[in-house]
Amino acid sequence: MTVKLVLRGKEYEVKPGMTLLDSLKKINVFSESVLAVRNGEMILDDEILKDGEVVKLVSVISGGGQ
């Protein structure tokens, strides 16, 4: 009974039934710093994550200048 969150190749497991925002808090990631993609679709903080789902977290922070 887990939901998998993947950020830069690193996998985190959280319990299903929580919102994305609460799941991010559990793994100490700021919601402002990532975009969440599930099955190719962007999902928002209030989305409830279900058992077996895999959510890709895309880091949005870049440090280099243009």
Binding site: F30, E32, S33, V60, I61, S62, Q66
Partner: protein
């Protein structure tokens, strides 16, 4: 959460604006707002030629996409920095190679004009090699990179006859710089920071049309628009102060939506209201570098030419 415009499922929620939008409406909203900022800050007019500094990242490619959609005459400038070896082990990472490939692919697919300057081909050394040879930057080539990029961007804009140079700096970039300059009260830098740096004495006008969008919004725009960008970070930016400041500001933003935007906009208001003034002993006019002819703050060679002098013995 539902789109405010049509009621469909929202793809993006911008808490600082209390605005959620679906994919099609978000992809309309970003260019509309960009056009509004260009006008509001008088960045450039519809007939001016814009040179967009593109790195292969999400912000600069999105900026180029938006300006093209808005109908501006916008060409790209890519600077090949030669960052293709890992800073620690020296193994190949092809960061610059991949960013150039993605930039060229973007331009080719849209039929856009791209200028490429390869620093190593032009000057004989890559950016990391220049940093090593000149002993600048305490094991990071970021300072050398900044000097070289500013010099080359201005040179290309001037030599190729562009009216304005546009960069993809977003609000998080601007807020992080502002935060750093405020922590150390760099009043001279604070005086100059803004959406537009006017042209003068041979310096091209510089504009930042994305300066009011959060970094998260620009990443969402690139992904939803289907723009392929380089996701990997510049290896030298890992652990940098600017990344640290961005994380701190995002922590604040998570608890207090709108804090980053207010920090930047209130600063612009305060600056316009005269909070920062030019020091009395500040140099009044710029000088021309005797080697390259570009403007420089002090008499004699500019920073870039002084740097190159160290690695290229006098003939």
């Amino acid at each position: 959460m539902k789109c405010r415009a049509c009621g469909a499922k929202a793809a993006v929620n911008m808490r600082q604006h209390k605005l959620a939008l679906c994919q099609p409406h978000f992809l309309e909203w970003i260019p509309e707002q960009t056009a509004r900022f260009i006008k509001k800050y008088r960045m450039f007019g519809p007939d001016e030629k814009v040179l967009v500094a593109v790195s292969g990242g999400k912000d600069s490619l999105s900026l180029w996409d938006i300006l093209h959609r808005l109908g501006y005459h916008a060409d790209g400038l890519y600077l090949g920095l030669g960052i293709d070896l890992s800073p620690s082990g020296g193994e190949g990472i092809a960061y610059s190679d991949e960013s150039r490939r993605l930039t060229e692919q973007f331009a080719r697919e849209r039929g856009l004009k791209l200028h490429v300057v390869d620093i190593q081909a032009e000057y004989g050394h890559s950016i990391p090699a220049l940093a090593t040879l000149t002993h600048r930057g305490q094991n990071r080539p970021c300072s050398v990179c900044g000097v070289a990029k500013r010099h080359e961007m201005n040179r290309m804009a001037r030599d190729l006859g562009y009216d304005v140079l546009a960069t993809g700096h977003n609000l998080d970039d601007e807020a992080a710089v502002l935060f750093g300059n405020t922590l150390s009260w760099q009043s001279e830098f604070l005086l100059r920071q803004g959406p537009v740096l006017p042209e003068h004495d041979g310096l091209a006008r510089k504009v930042k049309p994305l300066c009011r969008f959060y970094e998260k919004e620009m990443a969402a725009y690139a992904i939803l628009r289907g723009i392929e960008y380089i996701y990997e970070e510049c290896p030298y930016s890992v652990g940098s102060t600017s990344m640290y400041y961005k994380e701190l500001l995002n922590r604040l933003e998570t608890d207090r939506p709108g804090a980053k935007l207010a920090f930047y906009l209130k600063f612009l208001e305060a600056r316009a209201g005269g909070l920062f003034i030019q020091p009395e002993n500040a140099p009044q006019a710029l000088h021309n570098c005797p080697t390259c002819g570009q403007p420089t703050q002090y008499e004699g060679k500019c920073s870039f030419c002084r740097m190159m002098e160290k690695v290229q013995p006098a003939q």
